[in-house]
């Protein structure tokens, strides 16, 4: 009986100590990790979209509540005006969710650029959505409203040859981005005023 009790006490103590330590450490490093993730996973796509901006878009970010979730928006300043925001949206690809950064100019609702952040598409086929600049470039200048579809489905997006599912996933991600953008635009405009 005594041995049993000892086992229970030792294990409980060890577990709670370990749990407490890890929780504390996690709290401590959470912000740091988020910054690192932004820098190395999403950073390249964001910086690519906002090439030539006067500020650091990753430092100048804010969050807006979209229903249940919080969305991060990254601001780019061009010619002294903070009118461009980049935010992430997802669509279902061939190998899982595709994360897509969509940059939009709030003044005229036009897309300034898109870039794939995280994906698990087939290397060399679906992954070209991330590496081939021509695919991303076709979104530039389109209005961020309504539905986006690949040409096979009667839409306006040129699919990557051999990677239709991936291309469809990205079209869905842009459509989602359009929905988010339309519903959050008033709040966005409000926040952006703060940067001027």
């Amino acid at each position: 009986m005594r041995e049993m009790l000892k086992m229970i006490i030792v294990l409980t103590a060890l577990c709670s100590f370990s749990g407490g330590l890890l929780a504390a450490l996690r709290n401590e490093t959470m912000e740091k990790i988020e910054n690192q993730q932004l820098e190395f996973v999403k950073g390249p796509a964001i910086r690519n979209i906002l090439k030539g901006s006067a500020n650091d878009p990753i430092a100048d970010r804010f969050k807006i509540k979209d229903g249940e979730t919080e969305k991060s928006f990254f601001v780019g300043k061009f010619d002294g005006k903070a009118e461009t925001v980049v935010f992430e949206s997802t669509g279902k690809g061939f190998g899982g969710d595709i994360g897509l950064m969509v940059g939009v100019n709030v003044a005229d609702d036009k897309i300034v650029g898109v870039g794939v952040t995280t994906h698990s598409e087939t290397p060399g086929i679906g992954s070209r959505a991330q590496t081939d600049p021509r695919f991303a470039a076709q979104f530039k200048g389109l209005s961020l409203t309504g539905d986006f579809k690949v040409k096979n489905d009667g839409g306006q997006v040129d699919a990557i040859s051999g990677a239709t599912v991936t291309s469809k996933g990205i079209a869905v991600a842009v459509t989602e981005a359009a929905k988010t953008y339309t519903s959050l635009k008033p709040q966005l405009a409000e926040k952006l005023k703060g940067f001027k």
């Binding site: 030792v10 890890l22 740091k32």
Partner: protein
């Protein structure tokens, strides 16, 4: 009978060098030795976890009941591994991206549990520390040696720097999975033939 602390330390560097002599912890040896950078990162993570868990287990060896010792070891090891994972994410994110799943997998690395069970649970804090440090450094050395061979021939680089000049066509086989097995086998073979003399 008790060996000196120095002996506990140096045995990990040669006589009981983990992957080659103990043939333990082969999963990371095969998986992360594509480049020297990865190997050293992995090695440092293992040193930290091994030293930490050895010391902690040794400290607690009087109060851990032997019936639940394995569970306790796992908790200790898992805690340290998670600490390493969080720290890596916070400070060396690119390395974390490369090592990926193999950092959490240190938990199930036999070296850690093996040392906790076979050494730290029976020995004092200082010898456990020396044992963990020695084996950890030995593990790192073996990883680096294997990674150096694979990276130099497989990618033509060493720690990311070109070795053979631009005309070199890398021997891709070496950085593929089968190459890892063949290299490891050849190294074991060499180590054994040296040991026999």
């Amino acid at each position: 009978m008790a060996k000196s602390v120095t002996q506990e330390f140096t045995k990990g560097l040669w006589a009981e060098i983990p992957p080659f002599r103990l043939v333990l912890g082969l999963c990371p040896v095969l998986a992360v030795t594509k480049s020297v950078e990865n190997a050293i990162g992995m090695g440092v993570a293992v040193i930290f976890v091994l030293v930490g868990s050895n010391v902690l287990v040794s400290m607690l060896r009087k109060i851990i009941p032997s019936k639940v010792r394995i569970a306790c070891f796992i908790i200790v090891v898992a805690t340290f591994v998670t600490v390493v994972e969080l720290l890596m994410q916070a400070y060396t994110y690119p390395l974390f991206l490369k090592l990926g799943i193999f950092i959490p997998l240190i938990v199930v690395n036999c070296i850690l549990l093996g040392r906790a069970e076979a050494f730290a649970y029976k020995n004092g804090i200082i010898s456990s520390f020396a044992d963990g440090l020695g084996l950890g450094i030995g593990f790192t050395m073996s990883l680096t040696a294997l990674a150096a061979i694979r990276e130099v021939f497989g990618s033509g680089t060493f720690y990311g720097n070109q070795v053979f000049g631009p005309d070199f066509q890398p021997f891709n086989f070496m950085v593929e999975a089968p190459g890892a097995f063949v290299c490891l086998g050849l190294m074991l073979c060499v180590m054994n033939s040296i040991g026999k003399k």
